[in-house]
Symmetry: C2
Subunit: 210 residues, 2 copies
DNA sequence: TGACATTAGCGCGGATCTGCTTGAATGCGA
DNA sequence: TCGCATTCAAGCAGATCCGCGCTAATGTCA
């Protein structure tokens, strides 16, 4: 945290930067990993939702406030990605931006416009890079754990779980390898998925607390 | 980046936080992964080196300046870890701290006191947590690549490389598995390590650019 | 009502990986 | 100078992993 510098009486003697938060809100819709964007009223370009950090507020709270006020999104758990600090990256002055990622269910983007992450380019500021980092982090997480963002309501079949992972990974995963990797982290409910065509599939819940 | 808020004329109308950088400087000395600490003149407790971010300066530059001024360390390439933002975490006021990690050769800690990471606890602020994050990131990197921080001068033997990785991992790695995992990322120089006892070992250089 | 299409998931053979053993190449000491 | 300790690194057998094929269990349509 704070560093002890030469001989300042108070912190106010230093010039301080503005600190913003910007958030890549990810979801899976129509079998595709999507990010929520909106049009910046100043630049008229597409961008991620963000806001300035207020006094006495944590970064996560600022993210939640920005998503609530600008998109009507509630109840997310943002994770930090990176601080963008290039001098001159914001024409209005000295602004640091702390990039975040949040994941919401398919219907949760609310007032944000969904864009497939493979096509979401040309965003304002360094928001393309934020999307890249967010997707990269989410894919790493999904490669290790069964639906860690809990996009899928329990209980679910292994096939339904794999379809979510397919969308996040952006490619068709091999069903057999996927099943073998995920089964140790799942617990059978004993019930079967009825009503569909074909052999009924077993229903599972997550066991890993993460 | 910057977010467009309600109707401020300029950024100066918002209260802004002080932003600090704090850095876990890691090295391998005597076969142990160590972190460089110093005594805080205000609190008299041990802490990581840090400073406040100056205007027109990037976070990496602030890290380099703090290490140069407080420890005489030059030429590091810091990597960001996390932003600590808890209100009240610094008694002097509203201070965000961006934690960093940097790796230096064994003799490179200069004026910092080396502490084995297994014993470096009870540091000021949230610096224990920074050390934890820094070690975790470094270990993940070393698990994938041969000495990515370039602690070992080229050319080197596989055994010398493994000893560095042992120190970073904090445990004895299995020599065969280690050799097999690293060989695809190494290139034989054709020369042999002479002068030691036993069969001369082949010398290698890194091929992975990272 | 019975044959067929569809889906789940178990089991098999091939490939890969792991840790141990063995042979080879050196320096050192008698 | 000759054995011996030491170290490197290739070879081997057991274990694990992977993708494919097969069987089972359902809904659907004639």
């Amino acid at each position: 945290m704070a560093a002890t510098d030469r001989k300042p009486k108070t912190l106010a003697h230093y010039p301080r930067p503005s600190v913003a938060v910007d958030t890549a809100v990810l979801t899976v819709a129509d079998g595709q990993l999507c990010v929520g964007v909106l049009r910046d009223p100043r630049s008229a370009r597409l961008r991620l939702p963000g806001t300035f950090l207020h006094e006495g507020e944590t970064l996560a709270d600022a993210v939640r406030r920005s998503l609530r006020e600008k998109a009507g999104i509630e109840g997310v758990e943002p994770a930090q990605l990176h601080v963008f600090d290039a001098p001159g990256r914001d024409s209005r002055g000295w602004v640091l931006s702390v990039a975040h990622v949040a994941v919401v269910p398919a219907t949760g983007l609310r007032e944000l416009q969904p864009r497939a992450v493979t096509e979401a380019m040309g965003l304002d500021f360094d928001h393309d890079e934020i999307v890249r980092l967010a997707v990269s982090l989410l894919r790493a997480d999904y490669a290790e754990h069964p639906d860690p963002a809990r996009l899928l309501p329990e209980p679910f079949t292994v096939t339904a779980l794999r379809e979510v992972h397919d969308a996040v990974a952006g490619e068709r995963l091999l069903p057999d390898s996927f099943r073998r990797r995920m089964l140790p982290m799942l617990r059978r409910t004993g019930e079967l998925q009825r009503g569909g065509v074909g052999k009924p599939a077993a229903l599972y819940r997550r066991t890993t607390t993460s």
